[in-house]
Symmetry: D2
Subunit: 334 residues, 4 copies
């Protein structure tokens, strides 16, 4: 496959859904090679996106593969019943990935929690790992005594380059060589272009993790090509660039005023006619030199991250072990 | 004194410096009743602002009193030598407050760390309290054995309403009634209108803490009127509203383009002619209903907050105890 | 009431149950003024102890009042079903205290979490406070909108003398003066004389907290006499002195060998004939000068403390609010 | 080399110094094959122990190699000047190991922090790793720009079996295969037989880490034989068995009374004539069935562990990088 021209897609989002939104032009039809379907139910919006071929891949700057995005704006209210429903929904969609990839029920799974546990918005991966039900050692040490309905699951948080001095992908490769899993699930914090998606959205993808994605330093990626086994990536946007907040808001304002008054050219002047990317460039030009173009996260990040890490861990525990009841998965984490 | 019309000043900043910036119109002279003086030295900018009378107070929406703002953009780089210089500078300016208020060297001091220790951007106050050198109990239990050069210092973190069920001001009043300090120093996390000031700025004020300021729930305030003893407030902006990021950026873009090209009306259309507050209203109208107008904080908030809490604690330890060497204050905290 | 001669009872236990055990001599009958009853059910042993009068009080060195001790050795295994049963049992016995003290269902309650959150075995009180459902502010701010089945509950963690410079009892008094509760519940970490009771035992007492009890610095106590409202004390032993481990083990060895072989004089020599306190003195004489007589806690203290704090918080939430279902209280904390 | 009969040496200590103490019989000369030398200076006692051959190894149950033990009872007082002196002393002795093993100044070093970060007394390794100055990534990414006086250092905390499901030795092997260090430094929490050594003692050994040592689950060990490069082990005792406290105290009591009164047979009866191991067996027999024989740690473990982790990290930073000044190493950690 040809390398993607990442510059072109440098809109600072790790969500395939947002990449597609950015690639769509008003008035034109669907993007060839991209199939997409959205369902909404009781406050949970699920978008299934299929990048079918290279044409689609080049159009939105994402690898060929399946992407599922679960958006739940209400997650910010700390409603435990909603959290339980999201857990169940996440588990269902995750299981569909296992089936599509034909992962057997006894396949050995390694869960990799990427990110830095000392930086709250980057700590999603390590937090999920803390709540995973690991079982591999029981299979190694006393295989005859493991109850039916479980599979060998292991979990590691390899840290980040600035703390270990070693690429996290190198560490993962070393662990894979030794522990020989059949499937890797990599969890990572992401960047979004929209503040309202931060800490309210989960993306599942069968493409692995590619260089440059995620908010940390993951230059080498975690993919089937590199590691030899399939890699399912689970990501949650936890940060957004100040410049994309500004640019995104401009778009929202234009839509808002267009609906109300009609002539947005008069209101917004030349800004109105700029391409999205062009305008973003302008915003960055202004913000970057004075240190304004920071990655930011909502004030309540500590609680949001913990809630969503629990959802993912509970959902994985239920999906990976048949013996864990999918209807009451939350009880298995704390 | 008349009540301030807070609506008018609802630009969502707790910094007097920013309130003044917002009140100044280009082309008009200095604001009557406001005296201001700014010094810059080696990356540290200090602004001394004096709200001299009610006229000044009404103009910028701040209480009559002295405000010192220390801005250090370089603090984000984690440079320990710069941190030491800021500590010394902060201690000098804090000592000037003690002198102006004629606080004797033996006066008993209570340090109040406001905020919620479970919410990182709101944990500044509790973090400072953790690193304060408390001595009051030595004076109570063995007054003859306390070495010269110390004064009685106590420190509490009263929590926030949502966690205790009691207004923090009520808790502080109860503690003041019992422990009878001569001076209160209240530390709190603030909101700024400019992202680059977040976690890089310290404000000292002799006005106490007034209802509605700070990012938590402090409806009743901590003032000399309420508590019976002077209250020095120390604040650090740790959050900013998404809407003020957008509005502030618009201003920056206009200045940037004006310098380059001249006619910003053409570029910005009607937006260009709006008053700052009017435009902010528009931004909020668009962002609030869809959950975009969150308070946000930089991704690295954990480290930034810890660094600046150490600076304040070290500076206070040096200012309050003569026996603590002002040239090497950092060694007393960890 | 006469002052208790604490020296006489200086066996370094805060549990009334252990004080009684120490006061009992083999071969003599029950202690006058002490009524005691023990029940065991499914791994949970509950002892109800009533110090009926001054005679009983002097005999075991505890204040007149009711003491309930819940012992659950199995708590160390992290069994969540057992934890739920203990929560229910604790709630039942706590409600009996509320009834005996004739606390009305609308009485306002202040929960005080004593201890130091930076020292794990002393952090029980603050940990319970973190998981208490506080409601007082709803009653203050919007009394008409509070659903039936709740009462006003507030909760504070006043810190310890070494961190605040103020006696925790002074802080609590100040808060009581301002917030005017009808009942205080004080939670504290205790010392036991038996390692197996550490982190597996909960004591409830209607006597308040007296000087010298608990593992921190609480010289002034929290009692009805001082605070003007009833005080129920809840304590969990989290530490034990090395010297009492040794002394207690000696006793266990003697009983063990007596059962097996008969003549323990031959085996233990003079040690065998020493009084318990005399032997403890000898052990301390040997250990103290060389720094061996430390307070110790089991290695897994972090997890044990968290589990038992959750049990207490869940039990209190169920006991204090009728609307919280006693059969499923655990869901209200995290 | 023959396998060591570990049962024989099952006195539950990981310190070679204590193993030697246990092997020594009063009245007999030095143990053949063991060379030992002790120096005391200003509250710091350093014992250099050389297990010279298999005879010595079998006698004390430790591998052939060099062991240095630094004992500092005063560390419990939190004296920062003493901490600095211990850091310097530790760095000196650690450098002697580097020289004896002929590790060149440019050799690449991997630091492995064993243990569980959720269990305070087992968190020493991960805490040291947090404060290590890692540099390997600079050498990988921009080798020309690294200042002189540094070497490539990386650091990982592989977690424990119960959390990852993978043996920590497997994880380390995988990382070694990928990152190819020339030397490994493994840090681990240990068990001691003497409470006063807990959190006050540092052991350095050139033998690596062997199965069964340490307080966690490290069945496979980290040795030159397994990993292909030299392994220096650094350990700090952070826990002690209740049974060894009792047994050790008995020994102390006997010595104490012997000095005073002479006939300890009369006082201690048959206990007096038991072999140390025999008596320990008796103590365990009594304590184990009733859940008393726990591993315990001093109440103040949080602070002690943090202090000693800082000493080790600072000492390693100074020893490994010439550019880090050995006289002021503490400034490089926090």
């Amino acid at each position: 496959m040809k390398d993607l021209d990442l510059k072109k897609f440098d809109v600072r989002t790790d969500l395939a859904l947002e990449a597609k939104e950015l690639a769509e032009k008003p008035g034109t039809g669907p993007i060839p090679g991209i199939q997409s379907n959205t369902e909404e139910e009781d406050g949970i919006t699920v978008t299934m996106l299929h990048v079918q071929n290279e044409q689609g891949s080049q159009a939105i700057g994402r690898m060929v593969g399946h992407y599922v995005t679960i958006e739940v704006p209400g997650l910010r209210d700390g409603d435990t019943k909603l959290q339980d429903r999201v857990t169940t929904k996440f588990a269902q969609h995750f299981e569909a990935f296992l089936q599509r990839l034909q992962i057997p029920k006894t396949a050995r799974v390694l869960i990799v929690g990427l990110g830095n546990w000392n930086v709250t918005p980057d700590a999603l991966g390590p937090l999920v790992v803390e709540n995973i039900m690991v079982t591999r050692h029981f299979f190694e040490l006393m295989p005859d005594q493991v109850a039916p309905g479980y599979r060998p699951v292991s979990a590691v948080a390899p840290g980040v380059l600035g703390i270990t001095g070693i690429e996290s992908s190198e560490i993962v490769q070393g662990i894979v060589d030794r522990s020989k899993p059949d499937l890797i699930i990599a969890i990572d914090a992401l960047a979004s272009k929209a503040l309202e998606r931060v800490n309210t959205t989960i993306q599942i993808a069968d493409t692995g993790i590619h260089p440059g994605s995620g908010i940390g330093n993951k230059r080498k990626g975690l993919t089937k090509e590199i590691l030899g086994v399939p890699v399912i990536a689970i990501g949650v946007p936890t940060v957004v660039y100040a410049s994309t907040i500004v640019n995104n808001t401009f778009e929202l304002m234009r839509n808002h005023l267009e609906a109300q008054k009609g002539d947005t050219n008069q209101i917004f002047g030349l800004l109105n006619q700029m391409e999205d990317n062009e305008r973003l460039q302008l915003v960055r030009e202004v913000l970057s030199p004075i240190g304004h173009d920071l990655l930011v996260t909502p004030k309540e990040v500590d609680e949001f991250i913990e809630d969503i890490a629990n959802i993912i861990a509970s959902g994985l525990n239920a999906s990976l072990h048949e013996a864990v009841d999918s209807s009451n998965v939350a009880a298995y984490t704390h």
